[in-house]
């Protein structure tokens, strides 16, 4: 590689490119974002589903993430309703994962000799995914730059072997590395190029549009109906017999069912932003999504990728 880690990156995209190159070099499959709306990189099936079962796995990818309640019409210096996470998942977690992670910080221009990097206890739990793990938030000079988790359970299943998961909040990390105070001022591409674009040039307008829609315009009745439909469809998919009459093969549809789970989860987030979910209802909705996630996990471990060994009779 001709990557120059001694120099500081100059743009948001350069930081992403360096992370991609670094993790590719460490042997990860560099994947693309999942093509659905999700709240965090963890929802990508490359993490949620692939952390289940016994098969080794190593993937890294950027995941656009949406958190409707965090919308601030593009005005807050570091809050966005749409942002990017960089996600790494390696199963089984390698013994030198901390060192590999620190290497990635060096790759994006953080000089270990000048900065104070700390691993501060932060246990991770996703009630919607029925998942938890132990790990840290990683601090660089007092700022949280990543989440580092050893998955213990996902979708109600104990993880054997354990996956190591790294999540970088890309905008925040990049702002720190580039020395930017307001996210909208951050150079998106190289500021020296003829058509230099800032993060604001790319996203300020969409932040405004989505903030308005998320908070005030989204049709809650339609959303409520979509939630119910996704929930029903997920259950219906999973009820289908494993044997496909058309091909004569055993096809467990874990991924299509999981898509419906993701959809329900995102619709719940939208409903939450619209303020139509009361405190008591909240728990009930989270529980309904968790039920879907668990059912999908149950299905995934019955698939080949989930470690299921085909029986001779099939």
């Amino acid at each position: 590689m001709t990557r120059d880690t001694a120099t500081k990156p100059r743009s948001f995209q350069e930081i992403i490119l360096r992370l991609q190159a670094y993790w590719a070099e460490q042997g990860c499959a560099v994947m693309q974002p999942y093509d659905m709306e999700v709240g965090a990189g963890t929802f990508h099936p490359a993490t949620t589903l692939r952390s289940l079962g016994s098969k080794p796995w190593a993937a890294a990818y950027v995941q656009p993430s949406r958190r409707p309640t965090d919308g601030r019409y593009g005005e807050n210096p570091n809050r966005l309703q749409h942002y990017y996470q960089y996600q790494v998942l390696i199963k089984p977690s390698p013994p030198d994962l901390q060192a590999l992670y620190l290497g990635s910080l060096q790759a994006i221009g953080i000089d270990m000799a000048l900065h104070d990097i700390r691993f501060v206890e932060d246990d991770w739990e996703s009630p919607t995914l029925g998942a938890w793990g132990l790990g840290w938030e990683v601090w660089c000079d007092g700022m949280e730059v990543s989440q580092f988790t050893y998955f213990q359970q996902v979708g109600g299943h104990d993880c054997h072997p354990v996956s190591g998961e790294l999540t970088y909040g890309l905008e925040r990390l990049a702002m720190y590395v580039l020395g930017i105070d307001h996210v909208m001022d951050m150079p998106y591409n190289d500021p020296q190029t003829p058509i230099a674009l800032s993060y604001g040039d790319v996203f300020r307008q969409t932040e405004q549009e989505y903030s308005r829609w998320n908070f005030d315009v989204a049709d809650t009745e339609v959303l409520l109906r979509h939630f119910e439909e996704a929930e029903a469809e997920c259950a219906r998919i999973l009820e289908a017999p494993h044997h496909d009459p058309k091909t004569g093969k055993r096809i467990v549809m874990a991924h299509p069912a999981y898509d419906q789970c993701i959809k329900a989860s995102h619709i719940f987030n939208l409903l939450d932003a619209r303020g139509v979910i009361s405190v008591t209802e909240r728990q009930a909705y989270i529980g309904r999504v968790r039920t879907l996630a668990k059912a999908c996990a149950d299905a995934f471990v019955l698939t080949e990728a989930g470690g299921h060994v085909a029986e001779a009779a099939e």
Binding site: P77, N78, P92, S93, P94, P95, Q98, M112, A113, L114, H115, D116, I117, R118, F119, V120, E121, D123, G133, L134, G135, W136, C140, D141, G142, M143, Y150, Q152, C159, H160, P161, V162, G164, Y176, D181, S278, V279, T280
Partner: protein, 722 residues
């Protein structure tokens, strides 16, 4: 005698778990060694973010040989029995010894357990300790099955003496013990080997690791206070934070930084909380202004630029955090300016307090009505108390308290002042949660007292009504704390409050409604009627009475615990609780204090005996005769001088006791009662109560009854033990 060194080197151990882990490692390891016969001279355990270490000095080189004698079957017993014994004892037939006992000849076996080398025992105990370590939360990693707080990387297990050091052969889940460790993650990452604890601690220090958490904490505190002092400032002490920060670094470096001028106008509590919770910074105060002007952060390394980059980064993060806090503060102030505190409280109608006790808004309405009722009893203005109760929890829906729940009340006070409410109302917002514990300050300002009492009484009656009482160690709604709060508020402010009346009105319409519906369900009906037997009245009405009765006994029980700590005997309290008006806690305590003082005197002690004697005689006679001797005696039927003396002593004492009790002067009442002692003693010495002459006997019984009545008017002396 060898020394033992153990190091368990892992990824970062949560700071809050380190101290406990040190204790557990030391205790479990040394207990295991001693149990296996290896005694030792001394032991100490240490922790850093990445390691737990244990040194044990003066360990036995091997466990002592143990001989044990075992009694077997009788000589001539069946072969099967003898063989079974041989198998169990692990000896052969030739090893058996025949011995005569009173029951005949019996086989004896002597079992010798040879001593084992320390290394063997250490390895066994260490494996046991690692596999069963009581981490609050532990995890697996990679493809292994071992559990530890975070992935375990290496183990030092070393026995050393004058001859040198030897690694204890030990392996756990693929990790083989050695004599190698690593220094600071960034400043000295290379591996090095050690030969003893002294060598280990010294080499670690050279490798930028301070092994002892206390030494790190002392270092941080010294450097922090010096840095502040040199600028005329002082560090706000926070022992919990200091311990936590000492658990986050192996090589502490103290850096002091500026808080941006924009943020100095934030309330100091906001600055302190935000810096502590999010950044683990210490606050640095200017003693002249009382304002927090700087912060101290503790880095985990030295740098070529003396921490300049690190400090700049921390300052930047702090600015972002405080911008958030300022944003919340300004939004909250704007909300208060627009709609007042009651407007701020409006969303609480949507917040559930408890699904059977309604929303926060409904709860607040109940508290407000109650605070208004309590106000005159505590010398507070009723309107002010009601208003304070209505707004005291408004800050629960402020943005700041949403972000920092621990600022509840404190923010309420600021927002109340901003809304132009009076100082007593504003203070009540902050103080109505108090007292939170047995040593917490108790509010004294009448408006605060009224709201604090109303808040706690509503909690108690509410949870009592829905039958969510504390059981054993479970008290999820902190009802014991609420009851203690009521007790301390009443006693420390010397309030005359009839608790029964106040508790009865604390049952809002909501609780009544709940009781009605509960009475309809079979389960609750059984529960209610069970309590009912105590009261024996009608169902719905009776349910409320029974619950009140039960709640008041709960408060009395808490009072007993509280007073026991102040040296008042439980039977003394029982004797006073049995008196009418014991729901007036301040009165109850005065009576109890006077009674305990009275019983400590010899007059009191003797009079108590006289009372008991009179009471026994009376009870027997009343049982036998089937009548109650309550008419009072007549002095004209008195024969003996001692009898006449008692009549006149009683005549003298009775009005004094009555008058003293009327002005609630229990000491005077009891000292008047004590005046009866001589006459009572004289009476029992000289006078035969059960005289032949029935007129004499009845008159004497009636006289004793008057004595009993006089005693019982002061306290229920029958409940006093001894």
């Amino acid at each position: 005698m060898p020394d033992l060194l153990i190091e368990l080197f892992s990824e970062e151990i949560p700071a809050r778990m380190q101290a406990r882990a040190c204790d557990d490692l030391k205790k479990r390891m040394t207990d295991g060694l001693v149990e296996a016969g290896l005694t030792y001279a001394s032991a100490a355990a240490f922790s850093t973010p990445r390691r737990l270490a244990l040194t044990v000095e003066g360990l036995l080189a091997e466990s002592p040989t143990v001989r044990e004698e075992r009694k077997g079957p009788k000589v001539g017993a069946p072969d099967k029995a003898i063989e079974g014994f041989l198998r169990g004892a692990g000896v052969s037939r030739d090893d058996l010894e025949e011995r005569e006992t009173p029951k005949g000849a019996v086989y004896f076996a002597t079992i010798t357990k040879p001593g084992r080398p320390a290394a063997e025992i250490v390895a066994e105990v260490l494996e046991e300790v690692i596999r069963n370590f009581p981490w609050p939360k532990s995890m697996r990693w990679g493809a292994g099955s071992l559990r530890w707080v975070r992935p375990l990387h290496s183990v030092i297990c070393l026995l050393s003496d004058e001859a040198g050091a030897e690694v204890v052969p030990f392996e756990i889940d693929g990790i083989r013990a050695g004599d190698v460790t690593r220094g600071h993650r960034f400043m000295a990452p290379d591996a090095f080997s050690v030969v003893s604890y002294e060598d280990y601690a010294a080499k670690l220090k050279r490798a930028h690791v301070v092994l002892d958490a206390q030494e790190r904490a002392d270092h941080i505190w010294n450097d922090a206070t010096n840095a502040a002092f040199s600028q005329g400032l002082e560090v706000v002490e926070d022992k919990g934070l200091l311990a936590e920060v000492a658990g986050l670094v192996e090589w502490p470096v103290v850096l002091m930084g500026e808080i941006g001028a924009d943020f100095l106008g934030l309330p100091p509590e906001v600055l302190q909380t935000s810096m502590k919770e999010h950044q683990k910074f210490f606050s640095v105060k200017n003693p002249k202004t009382g304002r927090i002007e700087k912060f101290i952060t503790v880095a985990n390394r030295e740098t070529a630029d003396n921490g300049a980059t690190i400090l700049a980064g921390n300052q930047k993060v702090l600015s972002a955090r405080l911008s958030d806090a300022k944003f919340f503060w300004e939004n909250d102030l704007r909300a208060v300016a627009d709609a007042g505190l009651e407007g701020m409280a409006a969303p609480l109608a949507q917040v559930t307090f408890h699904n059977k006790l309604g929303s926060q808004a409904e709860r607040i309405a109940r508290i407000a009505a109650l605070a208004r009722e309590i106000a005159p009893m505590v010398g507070a203005d009723a309107d002010a108390a009601e208003l304070a109760a209505k707004v005291a929890k408004a800050d629960l829906s402020s943005e700041m308290v949403y972000e920092f729940p621990e600022l509840q009340g404190i923010m309420g006070r600021y927002y109340a002042m901003e809304a132009g409410l009076s100082q007593p109302v504003a203070d009540a917002c902050r103080d109505h949660y108090s007292p939170l514990g047995p040593s917490d300050d108790v509010p004294v300002e009448p408006v605060s007292v009224a709201v604090a009492l109303a808040d706690k009484l509503d909690t108690l009656t509410g949870f009592w009504a829905i039958d969510e009482k504390p059981t054993g160690s479970k008290d999820p709604f902190a009802l014991r704390r609420a009851a203690l709060g009521v007790i301390r508020l009443v006693l420390e402010n010397d309030l005359a409050i009839e608790l029964e009346v106040v508790l009865a009105s604390a049952f809002g319409p909501q609780t009544a409604e709940f009781l009605d519906s509960a009475a309809k369900s079979a389960d609750a009906k059984a529960k209610v009627s069970a309590v009912m037997e105590v009261e024996g009245s009608q169902i719905t009405y009776g349910a409320k009475e029974a619950i009140l009765f039960d709640l008041l006994s709960f408060v009395h029980d808490r009072l007993k615990v509280f007073l026991r700590d102040q040296g008042i005997r439980h039977d003394v309290i029982d004797a006073c609780v049995a008196m009418p008006g014991s729901d007036d806690l301040a009165l109850l305590v005065k009576r109890a204090q006077a009674l305990q003082g009275f019983l400590d005197t010899s007059d009191g002690e003797n009079l108590l005996q006289g009372f008991k004697r009179a009471n026994n005689i009376l009870t027997q006679a009343e049982e036998k005769d089937g009548v109650e001797y309550s008419f009072g005696g007549d002095v004209k039927f008195a024969e003996e001088a001692e009898e006449k003396a008692l009549f006149s002593a009683l005549d003298a004492a009775e009005p004094k006791i009555k008058a003293a009790l009327e002005r609630q002067d229990f000491e005077a009442a009891m000292s008047a009662l004590a005046g009866l002692r001589g006459a009572v003693d004289g009476f029992f010495e000289a006078v035969q109560v059960n005289a032949e002459n029935e007129v004499l006997r009845r008159n004497r019984l009636n006289l004793l009854s008057s004595i009993r009545t006089a005693c019982l008017s002061v306290a229920d002396l029958a409940r006093i033990e001894g």
